[in-house]
């Protein structure tokens, strides 16, 4: 909403081809070579399509390959088999055309918050004056305008993560990849950021691929949840979450919400999920 006026690419979001998948995972799998020389599968091949402006979460225990799949989808890791196609290019998404949010905020400590948010413009060679305006607007969007001139080490973990989300949005990417972005935060900050992320992804119609091992977070935010299991890592189910948007935290009491959470938990339990994972995050 706030950024609608300054968004240069508004028109192509509403283009008619928006029903065609934005991202196709075509039998994407990963295996690692063990010391003995044999290939050990880390993630069995996944074939799925993701629609424009869709919010998809990857849920599963540590080591199930969800982060690997996310990084392969972003083109940061090469798949051992299969391929990724962005729109109808037949190629993975181009670097610079997407935003990536890491588990740790990964801000550069020698740049101010504003300079960090502007980093994509510096690397992509975008006009800096425009980028600066946009960075300031984005910092307002994530309620950080006040600390634009501060350095990351002066910010709390939640504020750092918000800055890194603003950074991921600066170059107005079509797709956002988020790797457990709120995993290290306390429950209250996390819920607050969940709501902010929903608002941003709805306002700006971003396609979001979101890795988490928090089931409720996945259900709250997603249009679809991909459930992964261990040994070897594989996609065991995809669930559509048909709760109306925008969702508030109170929708966590909705019977449909609870059913979805229960269903995912059951899928995870069946998939040999260790107790500790659930006890820790459930």
């Amino acid at each position: 909403m706030l950024l609608a006026a300054s968004r240069p690419t508004d028109e192509h979001i509403a283009e008619p081809s928006s029903t065609a998948p934005i991202l196709r995972l075509q039998g994407v799998g990963k295996s690692y070579r063990a010391a003995s020389g044999t290939a050990v599968p880390a993630l069995l091949p996944v074939t799925e399509s993701i629609a424009p402006a869709e919010f998809v979460s990857f849920v599963g225990p540590s080591g199930c390959g969800k982060t690997t799949l996310l990084k392969m989808a972003a083109g940061l890791i090469a798949p051992s088999e299969g391929g990724i196609a962005f729109r109808d290019t037949g190629q993975p998404i181009r670097p610079g055309a997407y935003g990536f949010v890491f588990q740790a905020a990964a801000l550069l400590p020698w740049r101010t918050v504003l300079e960090n948010v502007m980093l994509p413009a510096v690397i992509l060679g975008l006009p800096l004056a425009r980028a600066r305006e946009r960075a300031i607007q984005l910092l307002e969007l994530v309620h950080l305008a006040r600390v634009a001139a501060s350095y990351p080490n002066q910010l709390s973990g939640g504020m750092q993560q918000r800055a890194s989300i603003a950074r991921a949005l600066l170059h107005d990417p079509e797709v956002l990849f988020m790797d457990e972005p709120f995993g290290a935060l306390d429950a209250m900050t996390r819920e607050q950021l969940n709501m902010e992320l929903q608002r941003i992804s709805l306002d700006q119609r971003k396609t979001v691929l979101f890795v988490t091992h928090d089931i409720e977070e996945a259900v709250l935010l997603s249009d679809r949840v991909f459930v992964f299991s261990l040994g070897p890592g594989q996609l065991v189910a995809t669930l559509r979450i048909d709760l109306p948007r925008p969702r508030s935290l109170s929708c966590k009491a909705d019977p449909r919400f609870l059913r979805a959470v229960e269903r995912i938990r059951a899928l995870l339990d069946r998939g040999d999920v260790r107790e500790t994972e659930e006890a820790h995050h459930g």
């Binding site: 610079g96 990536f100 990964a106 550069l108 400590p109 020698w110 740049r111 992509l124 350095y151 002066q154």
Partner: protein
């Protein structure tokens, strides 16, 4: 990048609260110094300590005053400080450029690292006599000795800093399609700055040591040379005066590096303090 850092708002640089001024402790330190000087004065004058062991502080002071007012120290101080700066500047420039080159050619770095480790483990002052044979008696030898003394700590620290440990930062740059040059200028180099400064810090002190050694073995100018001459004449007051001058040079160099470091690598003061 460095430019951006230098333009950082002053308020942001001083993130920590300024240390409270401990006047009482400072006064105690000063009193301790004065009483030690007084004790030394009395001990020297009363003959409690042999004049071959210690000169009276008043004598040392007289030598210093005389040395400066007669203009005797001038050329020697210029020679010492000059070769520290020349040697240090050459070594730092070479070490940082070589580290930057090696960091982008990992194979070469792996091939050369054993040699660096071997050279760094050797006491560089031991090369000094050899350098005098190669380059003769004088300023050139002195500068070369200073370069060998401070080159390796700067190189090793810079190499250490240029290694990226943060995988997220690297993937962030790759997700934006950064070129090799951008990766170096926007990530590796700023990341390495605190480590480079730790190396420069050690390097500048090594440069001072190197200069004094060089003046002991192969020159006819400099504070170290004056000290050696005074020793030969059993002029203890002059020897102590020279030591005092070297101490002041060391303190000033240390302070200069600290100031520079605070401004250029302000975000990581802790790292450099540990390695220095």
């Amino acid at each position: 990048m460095v430019d951006a850092v230098l333009r950082a708002p002053a308020s942001a640089r001083h993130t920590r609260a300024p240390h409270p001024v401990h006047w009482r402790e400072y006064t105690a330190s000063l009193l301790l110094l004065l009483s030690l000087l007084a004790l030394a004065e009395v001990a020297a004058n009363r003959g409690w300590v042999s004049p071959l062991v210690m000169a009276a502080p008043s004598q040392v002071w007289a030598v210093l005053v005389d040395g400066f007012s007669s203009g005797f120290y001038g050329p020697h101080l210029r020679s010492t400080v000059g070769s520290i700066f020349a040697g240090f500047a050459i070594a730092a420039t070479a070490a940082i450029s070589i580290a930057g080159t090696l960091a982008s050619i990992p194979v070469l770095e792996r091939v050369l690292t054993p040699f660096f480790v071997a050279f760094q483990s050797m006491p560089k002052v031991a090369i000094a006599p050899l350098v005098v044979i190669w380059f003769g008696f004088g300023e050139l030898s002195k500068t070369v000795i200073v370069i060998t003394a401070c080159f390796f700590p700067i190189l090793m620290n810079a190499l250490h800093g240029l290694k990226l440990r943060d995988r997220d930062h690297l993937e962030l740059m790759r997700s934006l399609g950064a070129t090799r040059m951008q990766l170096f200028l926007r990530l590796r180099l700023p990341h390495a700055l605190p480590y480079i400064f730790a190396g420069l810090h050690i390097g500048v002190i090594f440069a001072l040591i190197g200069t004094v050694v060089a003046e002991f073995v192969g020159t006819n100018a400099g504070v170290g040379y004056v000290m050696l001459q005074s020793k030969a004449n059993f002029d203890l007051a002059s020897v102590y005066a020279c030591l005092l001058l070297l101490m002041v040079i060391g303190v000033v160099l240390h302070g200069l590096m600290k100031q520079l470091e605070k401004h250029v690598a302000f975000w990581a003061r802790d790292i450099s303090q540990v390695s220095a």
